[in-house]
């Protein structure tokens, strides 16, 4: 564990990314304390530019709502959806990939064709259709994002399992009479952990982008203030009030960038032999 932290620290970008992410998480957690009022509530005149009133440093939107408070509550939504949908897609992708890789043959064929079926449909189009069918809500958005993002997990896990399956320690486990389920669970999956963690950190970033895009199109949960929704609502007035789309856009950029930097740092730290030369 200490080795891990030492290698992670060597990548400066990753440490910066981690710092940004911790900040965003803190803001999300503390949002109800910092802004006791609902972010939907009107607090001032509409289109108040940033830095004109001390209480409203980022100004107000077309309906006079506090932009800063919207950002803080939006962080909650983005992180929640990003994390939960990633967990759900891991829960779908890992078992499918592990079964396909371990049993091979017809099981592999069936599961991989099933996976490819999802991969051939464009991600975003499928997500829109799913959300539109199931009414926009947090649950349906998480479900839709998970359903469109599990295939890469399944393929990654399958590849890892295929190569681990022929390792001698797996053969030793077969000889010692362990059941297939024990072998997959105890011998194989723990050794696929590193690449899965790296992939997951990048998937959270992708999920945040997907959620923002859905909200931008008006397919977000109508009860939740989210970054995508704020940009979507401000797009018609972008020339009069630039700050309404700029700040939420910046928040998305910074958060996604932070996650990508962390992903790269994790990759360096968990797969030290693969890390690039001269680091």
């Amino acid at each position: 564990m200490r080795d891990f932290w030492k290698r992670f620290k060597r990548n400066r970008g990753a440490v910066a990314g981690l710092a940004i992410l911790v900040l965003v998480i803190l803001i999300a957690i503390l949002a109800p304390l910092l802004f006791p009022q609902s972010p939907w509530k009107m607090v001032q005149r509409p289109f108040l530019p940033p830095l004109t009133m001390e209480a409203l440093p980022l100004g107000t939107d077309a309906l006079g709502r506090n932009v800063l408070s919207g950002l803080a509550y939006g962080a909650q939504v983005s992180l929640l959806i990003g994390l939960v949908s990633t967990v759900v897609s891991l829960l779908i992708g890992i078992p499918i990939g592990a079964l396909a890789g371990y049993f091979g043959g017809i099981v592999d064929d069936a599961l991989m064709r099933f996976t490819e079926f999802f991969q051939t449909v464009p991600n975003f189009a499928l997500a829109i259709v799913l959300v539109a069918i199931f009414e926009p809500s947090v649950q349906s958005i998480i479900g839709a994002i998970a359903i469109v993002s599990w295939p890469p997990v399944a393929r990654l896990v399958r590849g890892e399992v295929l190569s681990l399956r022929s390792r001698e320690y797996v053969e030793a486990a077969i000889l010692s009479g362990q059941k297939n389920s024990t072998i997959i669970w105890r011998q194989i999956l723990p050794n696929t952990l590193s690449p899965i963690i790296v992939l997951a950190s990048l998937m959270v970033a992708t999920a945040i982008l997907l959620e923002s895009s859905l909200s931008f199109l008006g397919l977000g949960d109508p009860n939740l203030m989210s970054w995508g929704y704020m940009i979507g609502a401000a797009r018609t007035v972008i020339r009069q009030a630039w700050w309404l789309s700029f700040f939420p856009g910046f928040a998305i950029l910074v958060t996604v960038l932070a996650l990508n930097l962390i992903g790269e740092g994790l990759n360096d730290a968990l797969n030290p032999r693969l890390s690039r030369k001269g680091k």
């Binding site: 390792r167 001698e168 320690y169 053969e171 030793a172 486990a173 077969i174 000889l175 010692s176 009479g177 362990q178 059941k179 024990t182 105890r186 011998q187 723990p190 050794n191 952990l193 030369k277 001269g278």
Partner: protein, 542 residues
């Protein structure tokens, strides 16, 4: 040998390892002279720094490792101080190198003659047409059959020995003064190894090169070396003429290494109760098929195991020897059903292993366990040692507490501290890991153990310890052992009877004494004659 003018001199070479390595210097205070027209062998076990010294000469050290002191003098220049451009000019032209693994040292997508021509191209020599002619001349010189055809071949179309010959042809292309050979025969079969050693010695004489030959194998040293330098932990502990060092080693470490080499004379074969074999193999057959199918390409059929029959007595050690591709590993894997045999039966106490499935197979496997080759790949890196050993018994319903207590006992039995139970495999050395592998195999109280190249990946001194341990455990627990190996010396030391395999067929089966002293088949004879260092040993024992 008569010439004594040094062409290359290493003075007090010191190479630092990155922080956190197991010792501060990979190579520390090494001084060597390489004379024109001699073969100098650098011998040492893994991690002794022998390859690092060679790489330093060629400027091929890894990024994090760099020389901190000393000099390498060649032709009035210090190789360590040359710029990359100056070094590049020397490499190939004056200094050439051949590597251990000819498959990965050759470009798989380039034809052989193009790769040889590239050497000339890199130094701007000859016209393209001349380069091609020269390539064929070189291939002829290194003794590749049908050189014109081989010149147009891709590396994968050649055998391991032929690939190594191509590497040697490339190294010879510009008539270098010094040839560095880093374990060039380690990946080869014993008969091929003998041919390549012959070739290197021959070429050395014909071209008057100085050869620095790096190896871990004293047998190879005995075959080829004029002078020897023995390395341990980055230092040279002894150097001198080959005959002096081999026959009259001065340093304790050299003595230990030489004593650890398995001797070719066979032990006394014990009289075994032949009436009741524990394992009876009848007509075992395994065939691999590839290709064919949808697009009608011709099917490739390989008879990995072709109607093999033998018996294994209680308490007996049966050696299965053969070169790579002989099917010896397939036999072992078919016995434990890691592969399903196509035909034949494996009678274990009267029950046919080859026909069992599901739960009955799981139970039957308890009495036949395996020890694997690679001590690094055979233990799950994310499990603690105790768990690794106890897993088998737990899977068969032994309570966890009892299984872990037994694991601690087994660790003691294989000569490790019982506290190892809470540690992870990466904390152990190769030999210790192999002991853990043995403990795991013993955990289910098997009657038969199949050892698939179980000591091939170990250094010779560790190898001797593990072989002793196996022999002792076999005695104490009355085990039967099937010992699969490519190393005839190891087989001679440990086996009661030996089965020689070639291309899936059982060529000869007899007691160790019969096989080594009165071989009946030509193939067995050629295998035995190819053992490196054999003549010297025969001469020594009279």
């Amino acid at each position: 040998m008569s010439q004594t003018k040094p062409v290359l001199r290493i003075n007090g070479l010191q190479i630092a390892l990155p922080e956190g390595a197991d010792r501060p210097f990979a190579v520390d205070g090494v001084s060597l002279e390489l004379n024109a027209g001699e073969i100098l062998c650098i011998v040492g076990e893994s991690g002794s720094g022998k390859s690092m010294s060679a790489n330093a000469m060629m400027g091929l050290l890894p990024d994090l490792v760099h020389p901190t002191a000393g000099e390498i003098l060649f032709d009035h220049m210090d190789l360590l101080k040359l710029s990359e451009d100056e070094l590049r000019d020397l490499r190939g032209r004056k200094l050439a190198m051949i590597f251990q693994e000819p498959m990965s040292a050759l470009n798989p997508l380039m034809r052989v003659d193009d790769q040889i021509a590239e050497v000339f191209e890199a130094h701007n020599l000859l016209t393209p047409a001349q380069r091609r002619t020269r390539a064929i001349e070189l291939l002829t010189e290194v003794g590749i059959p049908d050189p014109e055809k081989a010149a147009r071949a891709y590396p994968f179309q050649l055998s391991g020995g032929q690939r190594q010959r191509v590497m040697i042809a490339m190294a010879l292309a510009l008539e270098p003064e010094i040839l560095i050979a880093d374990e060039p025969t380690t990946a080869l079969d014993v008969t091929t190894q003998a041919q390549i050693l012959d070739l290197i010695a021959n070429l050395q004489e014909r071209h008057g090169m100085a050869v620095m030959f790096i190896t871990h194998d004293f047998g190879v040293v005995a075959e080829i070396a004029d002078r020897v330098a023995v390395m341990q932990f980055g230092k040279i502990v002894e150097q001198g003429n080959a005959s002096d060092v081999l026959d009259n080693p001065q340093h304790e470490y050299t003595r230990k290494l030489i004593a650890a080499i398995p001797k070719l004379h066979t032990g006394e074969t014990e009289e075994l109760d032949k009436s009741k074999p524990i394992l009876e193999v009848v007509g075992l057959t395994k065939t691999y098929r590839s290709g064919g199918g949808l697009f009608g390409s011709p099917e490739r059929v390989v008879h990995a195991v072709n109607r093999i029959s033998f018996e294994l007595g209680v308490g007996e050690t049966l050696g299965v020897v053969g070169e790579s591709g002989s099917g010896k590993s397939s036999v072992g894997r078919c016995l434990v059903r890691l592969q399903d045999p196509d035909e034949g039966s494996v009678l274990l106490n009267g029950e046919d292993m080859a026909a069992l499935t599901g739960e009955r197979l799981r139970t039957a496997r308890k009495s036949i366990q395996m020890i694997f080759q690679d001590p690094f790949a055979s233990l799950n890196p994310r499990s603690r040692v105790g768990r690794i050993i106890a897993e088998g018994p737990i899977a068969h319903g032994v309570p966890a507490k009892q299984a872990y207590d037994r694991a601690a006992e087994l660790l003691e039995l294989v000569g490790l501290d019982p506290s190892a139970i809470d540690r992870y495999p990466h904390e152990f050395s190769g030999g210790q890991r192999q002991r853990i592998g043995i403990a795991r195999a013993l955990a289910l109280e098997p009657k038969i153990i199949i050892a698939d190249e179980a000591v091939s990946a170990l250094d010779v001194s560790i190898q001797a310890q593990v072989l002793d341990l196996l022999a002792e455990l076999k005695q104490r627990l009355n085990l039967s052992l099937v010992f699969i190996t490519h190393d005839l010396r190891v087989a001679a030391q440990i086996c009661d009877r030996i089965a020689v395999m070639q291309k899936g067929n059982l060529v000869e089966l007899g007691t160790a004494d019969e096989i080594f002293n009165h071989p009946r088949s030509d193939y067995t004879r050629s295998l035995i004659e190819a053992i490196p260092g054999r003549e010297k040993e025969l001469a020594a024992t009279g």
